[in-house]
Symmetry: C2
Subunit: 276 residues, 2 copies
DNA sequence: CCCGACGATACCCGCCGGGTATCGCCGGCC
DNA sequence: GGCCGGCGATACCCGGCGGGTATCGTCGGG
């Protein structure tokens, strides 16, 4: 199976329409039809059910869509990582999270013998897994239990407690400590929803957020409150207050990388990180 | 990057010899040289250092070898899993391990509504990870802490203590219990060596084994002793004795599957397994 | 009942993957 | 030191496959 065939199939399976898929791929429709037919013939299974009005996936088609996407990501990762081989590597971190910690980590690594250039890729929440899988990043800082580490090698770096961030004048903002029960039931201050694995938002009340700036601004505006690791205190303006939450689960920062890419450079960064 | 190019490159990078690589690929040498040149040109990096006597990998070449192997495995997995879509799935288990447990699991799954055919692939030790990665298996029974679960989704099934298996007449075979210290220092009965992740054997004394039959026979012959999960008792002949080891680490059986293949069938098996 | 949307088919062209023959380079051996 | 042999690169040729345009066959809907 060639990657071109996979790309073609994934396009058709996503669009469920040969014409649109061909347009997306920048080719005409007939060669696309032929390519899919040949793919089906070679695999010995039917992938798509075509009526003259609609296209739908068979069971085999669903399997190939999932597996094919993963395979294409692996190929893209090989491509990107090879292109930048030797020219340093890319570290993905959530914009706004672990700011100080990240600075210390980069300093520590820079002091290592043989350190190469590190490009820091600040991304939204829940994007890191995909960045690592498709090769746009080589190593990432993740936070348990929020991020999924399935499919990655990891090393734990530090664990911290959580605080609730409230607008300055809020009645509870002067309390020395709160409980989860008090925090989740705040009248008029819903907890925002973060994207889960795959980038989909869970249903429920509360605004959808995808980065920290956005979140902090919503809190300033008095439209949300949020549970965050205590290290976020360093970034809070004077109009926000952090109150410890005694029974909130702890957050663990981990450094993660794809298991097959044991490059010298990434190993050095991991070593520097675990020594912090 | 097309998979054919990746296959070609991996062959050359492994052989470090264009002629032999071409032979292995079943093509002539000139087209192979051209393909690698074109790959290097398109990637914009040199992968191989050629002198007229030897071929060696550059840093980029090492990266592409590792990433390319992973990508090829993902493509092969997509191929195999698509071909057998709908026709059941494959469960990989170590030959000789978890015998009874496996039988119960298969029975429980067969009773599920919508159960499909399960092919059981009995393999050697440390082969399962690769079987899952390249698509020859869809789901596997692994044993912590021996097997690596990096890159897999898992669910814990049961935890058991370990026993030491000794030849029948051995002086220690009548003891009610032993300690790790006593077991590792058995005179004349070395612990065998198992392949670690990647199928390589750690250095040291003791015979190399890669399946349970072989191991049990070695013990019968009085040439080895082994630490095994207590459930192995069911398979011991009368010439072998199992003695509990009080301070040995416990073994956890887990069911594992590649994260992207959340097929209905595998989900059913996992559900049946966790209910056991 | 006809139209229009959509996938399949027919047919053509140019490039690329593969083959054979040969070159150029270099290390080793007589 | 010159010849040989091993090895990758180059030159050149062919066939098939990827891609394009034109058109057909089949439905569902107005």
């Amino acid at each position: 199976m060639e990657t071109r065939e996979l790309r073609y199939y994934v396009a058709v399976a996503e669009e469920l329409h040969f014409g649109r898929a061909a347009e997306r791929l920048g080719i005409a429709q007939p060669p696309l039809s032929r390519a899919i037919q040949r793919l089906e013939r070679r695999l010995g299974v039917t992938l798509l059910e075509r009526s003259s009005r609609a296209v739908s996936l068979t069971e085999a088609g669903r399997v190939l869509l999932a597996e094919g996407r993963a395979a294409l990501e692996a190929v893209e990762a090989a491509d990107r990582r090879t292109r930048r081989a030797g020219a340093g590597f890319v570290l993905a971190a959530k914009a706004g999270a672990s700011g100080e910690f990240l600075a210390k980590l980069l300093d520590a690594y820079a002091a290592e013998p043989g350190a190469v250039e590190v490009e820091v890729l600040l991304c939204g929440i829940a994007e890191q897994e995909r960045l690592l899988r498709d090769g746009r990043a080589d190593v990432a800082l993740l936070h348990l239990p929020f991020d999924s580490i399935v499919g990655l090698d990891t090393e734990e770096l530090r664990t911290e407690t959580q605080v609730v961030v409230l607008p300055g004048g809020h009645p509870l903002s002067t309390r020395p400590s709160l409980t989860l029960a008090e925090v989740t039931a705040l009248p008029g201050l819903p907890m925002p929803r973060w994207p889960g694995p795959g980038g989909v938002y869970p249903p429920g009340p509360g605004p959808e957020v995808h980065n920290h700036t956005q979140l902090l601004q919503l809190i300033s505006l008095g439209r949300a409150a949020a549970l965050l690791p205590e290290s976020c205190r360093a970034q809070l303006g004077h109009d926000l207050v952090a109150v410890p939450v005694s029974d909130a689960p702890t957050v663990t920062t981990v450094i993660a990388w794809p298991p097959q890419s044991r490059s010298r450079a990434v190993a050095g960064l991991v070593r520097a990180a675990t020594r912090l």
